[in-house]
């Protein structure tokens, strides 16, 4: 598991406009610079917020990737629920889901 590599990518993406540009224009070479499993690389490549959430990325890092991808807040929240529904509980980290699948505590 190379969760650290996933989180390092997100950290760089969130704070560096040049990484944001490279994600759009030079994604393969960009992601080759990080130690990632095939599953992680594919999830980042596809912008699969639900799977990256389940893999255990810190929510404070992942939240901004979703915003960068243009996901409205309700869609981002739902993507995480969908990820858990499809792939099972969060596998690492401290951002596990504790509510029920249909429990919308903030109305979204």
């Amino acid at each position: 598991m190379s969760l650290y590599g996933t989180q390092k990518f997100l950290y760089h993406l969130n704070r560096d406009p040049r990484v944001q540009e490279r994600y759009r224009s030079d994604r393969g070479a960009l992601l080759a610079e990080y130690e990632l499993s095939d599953e992680e690389r594919s999830a980042i490549d596809r912008g699969d917020i639900g799977l990256i959430y389940v893999l255990g990325a810190n929510g404070q890092l992942l939240m901004h990737f979703a915003a960068y991808l243009g996901m409205p807040w309700p869609d981002y929240i739902q993507a995480m629920r969908d990820g858990v529904a499809k792939h099972g509980p969060v596998r690492a980290g401290i951002y596990a889901m504790t509510t029920e699948m249909d429990e919308r505590v903030a109305g979204v």
């Binding site: 969130n14 929510g59 992942l62 901004h64 960068y68 951002y95």
Partner: protein, 272 residues
């Protein structure tokens, strides 16, 4: 001179970024309390504002995570988040490197502090400044306690950090305001965002208000994670503030606004 103002406030990015999704009356009441805290702070005529934040990987990451950091620059950028997402325009916030250096030098006598001549503010500081110093005309000394990447800074060390900041402020000639920012119970950036343990928050704020050191430091991280979520780890900033101010606290506003993910809190503390 020493401290002239001490207070606590929430910093969740939804407070500005998702304002339109909130119940208007609840949002307006909280925003008004936030602005009023800024009026009260500025009325004490501070020369500088120390902000004890709990940032979220805007600057510090697991490759080299400091338990404590203090900024030491003449200016900072923020917010690091997308301005449209957070609802705050990007700006430059003044700092005061010389005062920072003196604060750091004194704090280091008892607490191992990392210093940073670069710092991009994330919502932990940018959201509070939006309300407290909306003209960005007061020099800021940013401080950070690691509340995000375990192993986390122990609570008793957060208390020691607050004591160190107080000692440093007492040695400075400037009038200094100090504000701590963070959530109490919350489960941010998860499908649970909006879950709030109001009873836990009331109990924590009661301990904070009476500045009960033993009670504030008695939480274990396992208990906090269970009862207050990973966001609850940010109580470290409020604890440090209590150690710095030493007085009794008054909660001016505490209302649950789920779309903002927290009990939206404003409090002030006497400086004793």
């Amino acid at each position: 001179m020493s401290l002239v103002f001490a207070g606590i406030c929430s910093h969740a990015p939804g407070i500005t970024g998702r304002a339109r999704l909130a119940d208007p009356a609840a949002k307006d009441a909280f925003h008004a309390a936030f602005y009023a805290m800024g009026d009260e702070l500025r009325a004490t005529r501070p020369d500088a504002l120390i902000v004890i934040g709990a940032e979220h990987f805007g600057n510090f990451f697991m490759n080299n995570m400091p338990a404590f950091a203090i900024g030491m620059a003449d200016g900072y950028e923020g917010p690091i988040e997308d301005p449209k997402w957070i609802g705050i325009e990007r700006t430059r916030v003044p700092g005061q490197a010389d005062l920072s250096k003196r604060v750091i030098t004194e704090a280091m006598q008892t607490v191992d502090v990392a210093f940073a001549e670069e710092w991009k503010f994330d919502h932990a500081i940018a959201v509070p400044l939006h309300f407290l110093t909306p003209d960005y005309d007061l020099p800021v000394i940013p401080c950070n306690i690691n509340c995000q990447g375990p192993p986390l800074t122990p609570l008793h060390r957060a208390w020691a950090f607050g004591e160190a900041l107080r000692r440093a402020a007492d040695k400075a000639t400037e009038r200094i305001a100090i504000v701590a920012t963070g959530g109490i119970s919350h489960w941010p950036a998860t499908p649970d965002s909006g879950r709030i343990n109001a009873e836990w928050d009331r109990e924590f704020l009661a301990r904070w208000s009476r500045n009960d050191q033993a009670a504030l430091l008695s939480y274990t991280d396992a208990q906090t994670y269970r009862d207050a979520g990973q966001g609850g780890f940010e109580i470290r900033t409020f604890i440090a503030l209590a150690a710095a101010a030493r007085g009794q606290g008054t909660v001016r506003h505490c209302a649950q606004i789920p779309i903002f993910a927290v009990s939206c809190t404003i409090g002030v503390m006497e400086i004793a």
